[in-house]
């Protein structure tokens, strides 16, 4: 909201002594940071950020109240010449509790226009001056004092005025020229022909003030914040008035604002008052709140006294009654955010300045808890893959239905994972796979000239279920391009499927995941993080005795068919040997050459045996014979 320095100083004269920078700092310390300063109409105008709970501060007067309380300086008096009320010239019926109070006046306009200084004030706030005194005065009052008012062309109102709920389907053309179809939850001002304004939001086009207007009917009311918010949202009609009524206007200002408006129309436009009257009464005051010393001291973190608190709250306009160890506080009519003792404690601290809050480490009462094994596993996994040369990616959790269908499990129906209001088709499905996102990122890297791309992501994938999508942390990995060739020891070669299987094995996956070809020489796999071996709960695993007797290593050179899967052969050999003595079995060399029999290759298998005793040569010979027999059963032959 724009605050003009001169106009602020008109409400709190002491503010004139502050320069713009000091004023900005003061407002920020009160919870109103200044986002920017503009220079308009020969004065500095501050763009003040006002939080949603502080509708009372959305005016120069409101901001001045804050500055006055902080500086302990008086506000300028606000005393318009009182308007004598009389009998209603137009009957006003309040038919809904959402409008308990409606002050009005009927005036005949004379001659004159909006004064230059009022027009300059409006321009400084980036608001337009229409040159119509009734419109400009209402607007000027809103910015200066925060209370929205409205002027109707009285000669275009038919019969009595009522404030009532709309009849569903009723139409109203609002000031912006849009025809609104109303709902029964919309509060309207209506005459005998139908709605003439959306209460607290916007006036109607049919009764608006124009150059031709001779008589005006003024409205200065109080509307229920919730009702105004709902109507503004329903019709996407967010106005200066709806912002203020929606956050809670000051009901005590309704009559004052009416009097101010009458006064301006008399002086600006030579208007004659034909009558002023009020329907309804002030809404019930918010109940008082009790602040205990214990609560105050707990929140503040230092021994503040109730007397200090009472003084601060009084400066803010509260009526404070002191008890023995509590204060009973009646918030001012303009504040709707002082409902609980915590709110009062905040006000005391705020006025005092948050810079005075001491800095103390909390008592660390509960014992520290460990990081969960799942979380630690994911952290360790990311580090490990980064050390293996992979780059961690962060991609969006929603993708296009096509991208999802390319890799998500067929039984994972996308309907259960689809957003009703996505940013677009391409972001509409909570992904059942990481591979599409990784493929996109990898292709993008290759297009940008990367010779090799190694990416991984650890993120949830979503699984449709009857109660909504379940989430499963998943590791996805993509690798492609040219591997090696960056130094003189490793020759350049394309990345192969087997490279990914090597990574999967290295991560300790019991069952190797399916490696998918992602196109453009890219490969990828994804696997639930839960399938990876979890770190033990113990800091150091339990001791497992190991043999100190020497191990025996034997090699076995086998001729096997080309195409023989290694795992199958290794498993058969392992199965043929006593598990308690076989320490290790691996293939240490592969030899393929035309000198070997057609369709065969040679594998050099290395076996290591160990037991809790010294092994005898003959028993090892026996095991080697068993291993060979198992290999032969799969078609292997010993290589002479």
């Amino acid at each position: 909201m724009w605050i003009e320095r001169k106009a602020l100083a008109a409400e709190i004269p002491a503010a004139a002594a502050l320069d713009t920078r000091q004023l900005c700092e003061l407002l920020a310390s009160l919870g109103f940071p200044v986002d920017g300063v503009a220079s308009r109409e020969g004065t500095d105008v501050l763009d003040v950020d006002i939080t949603a709970n502080r509708g009372d501060a959305m005016s120069h007067r409101g901001m001045a109240r804050e500055v006055a309380a902080k500086l302990r300086q008086p506000l300028a008096p606000l005393a318009p010449p009182p308007v004598a009320e009389g009998a209603p010239q137009v009957p006003v019926r309040l038919e809904s509790p959402a409008c308990p109070l409606y002050a009005t006046a009927l005036l005949s306009l004379g001659t004159g226009g909006t004064p230059a200084d009022a027009q300059a004030f409006l321009r400084a706030l980036d608001a337009s001056a229409k040159g119509l005194p009734a419109v400009d005065a209402s607007n000027e009052l809103l910015h200066r004092y925060g209370h929205p008012t409205h002027a109707f062309d009285a000669d275009r109102i038919q019969g009595a005025v009522s404030v009532r709920w709309a009849i569903s389907g009723e139409k109203l053309v609002t000031l912006d020229g849009v025809t609104r179809t109303l709902l029964a939850q919309d509060l309207v001002i209506a005459d005998e022909a139908g709605p003439i304004a959306l209460a607290g939001v916007m006036g109607g086009d049919g009764t608006k003030v124009t150059e031709a207007t001779r008589r005006v009917l003024l409205e200065s009311a109080w509307f229920d914040p919730k009702t105004v918010r709902a109507t503004a949202r329903r019709h996407s009609l967010h106005t200066d008035a709806s912002h203020r009524f929606g956050r809670g206007a000051d009901p005590a200002m309704a009559t004052v604002a009416r009097d101010l408006l009458v006064d301006r129309l008399r002086t600006w436009a030579g208007a004659t008052l034909e009558g002023a009257w009020t329907a309804g009464a002030l809404p019930a005051h918010a109940s008082s709140v009790t602040l205990s010393e214990a609560m105050l001291v707990r929140v503040a973190g230092e021994p503040l006294t109730l007397a200090e608190a009472a003084e601060a709250l009084t400066r803010l306009g509260c009526v404070v009654k002191a008890g023995s160890d509590t204060l009973t506080v009646q918030p001012p009519t303009w504040r709707h955010d002082m409902a609980i003792p915590d709110d009062l404690a905040e006000e005391v601290l705020r006025l005092r300045g948050y810079e005075h809050i001491p800095s103390v480490l909390p008592p660390l009462e509960g014992p520290p808890q460990r990081l969960s094994p799942d979380y630690r596993l994911r952290q360790a996994l990311a580090r490990r893959l980064a050390h293996l040369g992979f780059h961690q990616t962060v991609t969006y959790g929603f993708i296009s239905p096509e991208a999802d269908a390319a890799f998500a499990a067929p039984d994972n129906a996308p309907e259960g994972r689809t957003l009703v209001n996505p940013l677009g088709q391409e972001y509409s499905v909570l992904r059942g796979t990481l591979l599409s996102s990784l493929k996109d990122a990898a292709e993008q890297n290759l297009r940008q000239g990367a010779r090799e791309v190694r990416l991984f992501e650890v993120a949830p994938t979503y699984i449709s279920g009857p109660k909504g999508p379940g989430e499963r942390f998943t590791l996805g990995l993509a690798w492609g391009g040219t591997q090696g060739g960056e130094d003189y020891l490793s020759p350049a070669r394309p990345v192969r499927e087997a490279d990914l299987r090597g990574i999967a094995r290295d991560l300790g996956l019991a069952a190797l995941p399916e490696v998918r070809a992602l196109g453009e020489g890219l490969f990828g796999f994804e696997v639930p993080v839960a399938d990876l071996p979890r770190p033990g709960e113990r800091i150091v695993p339990a001791f497992r005795p190991f043999s100190r007797f020497p191990s025996v290593e034997r090699d076995l050179s086998l001729l096997v068919d080309l195409g023989q899967p290694y795992e199958a052969l290794a498993a058969a050999m392992r199965a043929a040997l006593p598990a308690e003595v076989l320490q290790d079995l691996r293939c240490v060399d592969v030899f393929r050459h035309k000198s070997l029999p057609e369709g065969r290759q040679a594998w050099l298998m290395r076996l290591r045996f160990q037991a809790d005793r010294t092994l005898v040569g003959s028993e090892v010979d026996g095991w080697m014979a068993s291993a060979l027999a198992a290999a032969e059963a799969l078609g292997a032959k010993i290589r002479a």
Binding site: P33, T51, A52, R54, R233, R298, A300, G301, E302, I340, D342, D343, E346, L349, R350, Y354, I357, P358, S359, V360, L361, P362, P363, E365, G366, P368, Q369, L371, S372, Y375, L385, A386, G389, F390, H391, Q392, V394, T395, G397, E415, G416, R417, T418, L419, V420, N421, L423, L430, Q444, A450, E452, A459, S464, G468, P469, E471, E486, D487, Y488, L489
Partner: protein, 356 residues
């Protein structure tokens, strides 16, 4: 045409492949080359002499035969030479791989994502104070995302213009902040709170808001939430903890500043500024000359948040904070465009993420 050629030449041609294969090195090959196609005294030179002396009517056929032979030898020699050179090079390479004067091989270099790295660092900073990590789902209920956090039923953030909802499950949404983890955690620990003596944790994670993608907005981003519940917790404890943590993060001379602000789930609420880590608070472009940068929002837990979880606000109190990870990463790194964090260019990741 072979009848035109001398027998010893035909014999030499037959022996050529074996001789070629027998050449174990380039020197041997050079000698063989001299013997077959050398300028003088070679089989080829002798054939040229023969051609000159041949009768005119034989010249054509003889020439073709000689060319055929010569071509075969030359091709064989050339192929073998390529082979031997490659072998020699390989041998050289193997030999030189042990040379300590040469540069060492370069292992592949990966990187953590800068956003993850920053979140990890925040966890690391709070661990010494006994904070652990709590996590929650990204698909949340309105109750956890809004109601449990004292967010009014008609709050604009609930609108489908701000929050993503699921088509098949109208009551489910993508969480708009990490705060529902507060609600879930409080609900879970409430029965045991007395025994635990309170709780304190961080909740890092991904959140979603319906913002169009541009240099400063993304529909998905990250937050880190922090929370502590105990006895007699006040603003001084919030300030003390944040001062401690932000000094651990930015350095021992870091100062913090609290300013009043408003969030429905805290009371009192505040924004927290930190002395600009980029210019040591001297004033720079990032802090707009003020020496301060806004870093997070925080406050004491609103009693309604505790009550929702079944915790008595008369006995228990606490604080919470929430910070935007992207915002902080952009500020610290001076990255000009938020989209870079989601493009995953290896050059960006390698330079920004690194390993630690």
């Amino acid at each position: 045409m072979d009848h035109l050629l001398p027998a010893e030449i035909l014999e030499a041609d037959r022996a050529f492949p074996v001789a070629l294969a027998a050449c174990a090195d380039l020197d041997a090959l050079l000698r063989l080359k001299g013997a077959y196609v050398g300028r003088e005294g070679s089989h080829a030179a002798r054939l040229m002499d023969l051609l000159k002396a041949a009768p005119k009517e034989q010249k054509r056929d003889l020439g073709a035969a000689i060319n055929g032979l010569k071509q075969g030898w030359e091709e064989g020699l050339k192929a073998r030479q390529t082979e031997l050179e490659a072998a020699k090079k390989n041998l050289n390479a193997l030999a030189s791989s042990w040379d300590p004067a040469l540069p060492p091989p370069v292992p592949a270099r990966g990187a953590l994502h800068p956003l993850n790295r920053l979140m990890d660092r925040l966890v690391e900073v709070f661990r010494p104070l006994g904070f652990h990590v709590e996590e929650g789902p990204e698909v949340e209920t309105e109750a956890h995302n809004f109601d449990g956090l004292n967010i009014p039923e008609d709050h604009p953030a609930k609108a489908s213009s701000d929050t993503f909802y699921l088509a098949a499950h109208p009551e489910l949404l993508l969480r708009t902040h990490t705060s529902p983890v507060q609600v879930r955690t409080l609900l879970r620990v409430a029965p045991d709170l007395q025994k635990l003596g309170g709780i304190r944790f961080l909740a890092p994670g991904r959140v979603y808001r319906k913002d169009e993608i541009d240099p400063t907005h993304s529909p998905m981003f990250h937050q880190v939430e922090g929370m502590l519940v105990g006895h007699d917790i006040g603003m001084q404890h919030l300030k003390g903890t944040l001062e401690y943590a932000l000094r651990a993060l930015f350095g021992p001379h870091t100062e913090i500043r609290l300013r009043p602000s408003y969030f429905p789930f805290v009371e009192p609420g505040c924004e927290v500024d930190v002395s600009c880590p980029l210019c040591d608070a001297k004033g720079c472009r990032v802090c707009k000359g003020s020496g301060w940068v806004e870093i997070l929002g925080a406050g004491l837990l609103h009693p309604n948040v505790l009550k929702y979880a079944g915790i008595d606000p008369e006995e228990w109190s606490g604080w919470a904070f929430g910070m935007g990870v992207e915002r902080m990463a952009m500020m610290l790194s001076q990255t000009p465009d938020l989209r870079l964090f989601f493009e995953n260019d290896q050059r960006f990741l390698g330079a920004m993420g690194g390993l630690d």
